[in-house]
């Protein structure tokens, strides 16, 4: 189910401004890849190019190639809508649909696709909520609004919503930055479980978090404000945090800048 991502020579623009430049990397399936780097270095922008959400922003434009196994995501005739059905996303702030119940939130993606049996819907919702470690907390109030949950529960609801459509890849854009430490721990445990089935990419500002959850870590940096962000290096997480090959990485991780 999980797929490999191969990025080569990717640049992204906001209008005339180049946000990231010439990024190439391979993201392995069934593993967690973390993106770290100072604010403005383009890691979130890069994440959003992986499911073609970048171009939703007015003026957003991408050059280069992203391969999902052997499918070119930016190839001619590829519908961004179908890309996003394969590459799910969880956002920084929990964003369940406020007008929908918990059940409907999880079922929302399935109902869009339409490729499910009505009778199977409840099962998939239950599986997804179990998968997001939320089932026991919400099973008695599935028809209550999702916005009534706590922040951490809402974020797990968003994860359940994302995995309900069985994506190949799960992108997470600072999924814990709006949460308290306990909820953060719950999400991190969940990420560890989810990587058995999915390719997971997570952007984080919390280096301890990157060290805890990821198998590989990519460090992004920018030369100066206004310059495009670049990939400095990507390696095994253990290596990045113990013995990185680029000095900038070591400086950033040891807190000398950023």
């Amino acid at each position: 189910m999980a797929k490999r991502i191969d990025v080569s020579g990717l640049s992204a623009f906001y209008g005339a401004h180049k946000a990231i430049e010439d990024i190439s990397m391979t993201i392995e399936p069934r593993s967690v890849t973390a993106f770290i780097g100072p604010s403005g270095c383009g890691k979130s922008t890069f994440l959003r190019t992986l499911n073609r959400m970048h171009e939703v922003v007015p003026g957003g434009r991408v050059e280069g190639k992203v391969m999902l196994d052997d499918e070119d995501l930016y190839g001619p005739g590829i519908d961004p809508v179908s890309v996003r059905r394969e590459v799910g996303m969880v956002f920084q702030r929990p964003n369940p649909f406020p007008t929908m119940s918990i059940f409907d939130n999880v079922a929302a993606g399935l109902r869009l696709n339409g490729d499910y049996k009505k009778s199977g819907l409840a099962d998939i919702v239950e599986q997804s909520l179990r998968g997001a470690n939320l089932w026991n907390e919400v099973k008695d109030r599935l028809n209550k609004p999702g916005s009534g949950l706590s922040g951490g529960q809402q974020q797990r609801l968003c994860i359940a919503r994302a995995i309900a459509v069985q994506p190949k890849v799960l992108l997470m854009d600072e999924p814990c930055s709006a949460l308290d430490p306990i909820s953060t721990l719950a999400i991190e445990d969940l990420i560890g479980e989810l990587k058995e089935q999915y390719t997971i990419v997570i952007v984080t500002h919390n280096m301890q978090q990157a060290a805890r959850v990821s198998d590989r870590t990519a460090f992004f940096n920018l030369a100066a404000i206004g310059q495009p962000g670049k990939l400095i290096e990507i390696d095994e997480t253990e290596r990045i945090f113990s013995n990185p090959s680029v000095k900038d990485t070591e400086d950033y991780i040891s807190g000398r800048f950023g």
């Binding site: 959400m53 809508v81 996003r84 956002f91 964003n95 406020p98 929302a108 993606g109 869009l112 968003c158």
Partner: protein, 354 residues
């Protein structure tokens, strides 16, 4: 406590009358609550002590009280004159199909007016709300920015046209051009009864409804547009990331978020449609009976009837017209109350607490 080292915000060092008056005010609630608070609950934290605060508190509370006083004065005036008229009515005020309040044996009833007012407004809403919501969605989610600015401006211009101009346009342009539509409706939907047409001039309820729809379109469009523009980006991205198309994003996040706003917008439009006077009076050829068909000329509305009968009315006739105005007032209140109930019932699911 009164005099601190810092200067008062408003910067007026002279003692103003409001200021003096406020010194006698008992424990003062927060300014924002002033209009609704009849018996102020003691709230130490909300007590205004600075001069600028006190002036603002006095002004805002005074405005609130003034509003209540004006509303009460209107209600008392309408009720008093209406009761005078209805007590002399020889017919049934609610069911009589006649308007002859000026004679010594006055006979008048509002059945025709209530029917005409409600029917013309309902037609206007049925036409205007979907079109307005579609325009608002187009402006906020489909149109390129170069296009949405000018279109929004033209919609605003529609609201600036005086209603008598709409009336003239309706009578001189719209009415003569309705014949094609009317004969088409008569041919294909005539069997329903409400769309049968005897070939008279198109000064009928349907024409009035269409004209009212054009008139209330801008207000519904503008309010809906503002609401749709405020849909949090996060909600739209949530739908997009699940693989929603543009229309599905609108269905999943934009419309649910904007629902209560669209209802409020529609109520604003309905309020204008219910009370519209000159345009209706210019287009409609009024009769005091109810036409089963929307296409045949005749009927009347409260506002149109008041405008056209006021000149020839004596004291008693005016009271009768005021009584009909009171009914319009009550209908408008009921409609607004119903709208508020619809909005409140789904509050739990509204985007407000997200």
């Amino acid at each position: 406590m009164d005099i601190s080292t810092q200067k008062p915000q408003a910067g007026n060092d002279d003692t103003l009358p409001e200021d003096a008056a406020m010194k006698h005010a008992p424990s003062a609630p927060a300014p924002g609550h002033a209009p609704a608070t009849k018996a102020p609950a003691p709230r130490a934290a909300g007590t205004a002590t600075r001069r600028g605060d006190r002036i603002f508190l006095g002004l805002s509370r005074g405005s609130g009280i003034l509003l209540l006083a004006v509303m009460a004065a209107i209600a008392v005036f309408l009720s008093y004159r209406a009761i005078l008229a209805i007590s002399k009515d020889q017919g049934n005020f609610l069911t009589t199909f006649e308007w002859d309040p000026n004679s010594t044996e006055p006979v008048f009833g509002i059945a025709v007016l209530a029917f005409g007012t409600v029917v013309s407004s309902v037609i206007a809403m049925v036409i205007a709300v979907p079109v307005a919501v579609a325009i608002a969605l187009f402006l906020t989610h489909y149109a390129p920015r170069r296009l949405s600015g000018p279109i929004a401006y033209v919609v605003d211009l529609l609201a600036a046209v005086p209603s008598i101009v709409y009336g003239l346009w309706g009578a001189l342009v719209l009415v003569p051009h309705m014949n094609g539509l009317f004969s088409w409706l008569d041919t294909y939907l005539g069997w329903t009864g409400i769309f049968s047409w005897q070939g008279g001039p198109a000064r009928s309820m349907l024409t009035v409804g269409i004209l009212l729809a054009v008139m209330i379109l801008p207000v519904i469009t503008n309010v809906s547009r503002e609401v749709f523009r405020q849909v949090p980006k996060a909600h739209e991205e949530a739908a997009l990331a699940l693989g929603a198309t543009r229309w599905e994003v609108i269905r999943m996040s934009v419309l649910p978020f904007g629902r209560s706003g669209v209802i409020s917008a529609s109520m604003l439009g309905l309020g204008r449609a219910l009370g519209e006077t000159m345009a209706v009076a210019t287009v409609l050829s009024p009769t005091f009976d109810i036409q089963a068909s929307l296409l045949d000329p005749g009927g009347g509305t409260f506002a149109q009837n008041i405008a056209s009968k006021f000149g020839e009315a004596n004291e008693q006739g005016r009271d009768a017209l005021i009584a009909s105005g009171l009914v319009l007032f009550v209908i408008t209140l009921l409609v607004n109350g119903a709208a508020r109930m619809i909005i409140a019932r789904r509050k739990e699911y509204s985007g407000a607490n997200a």
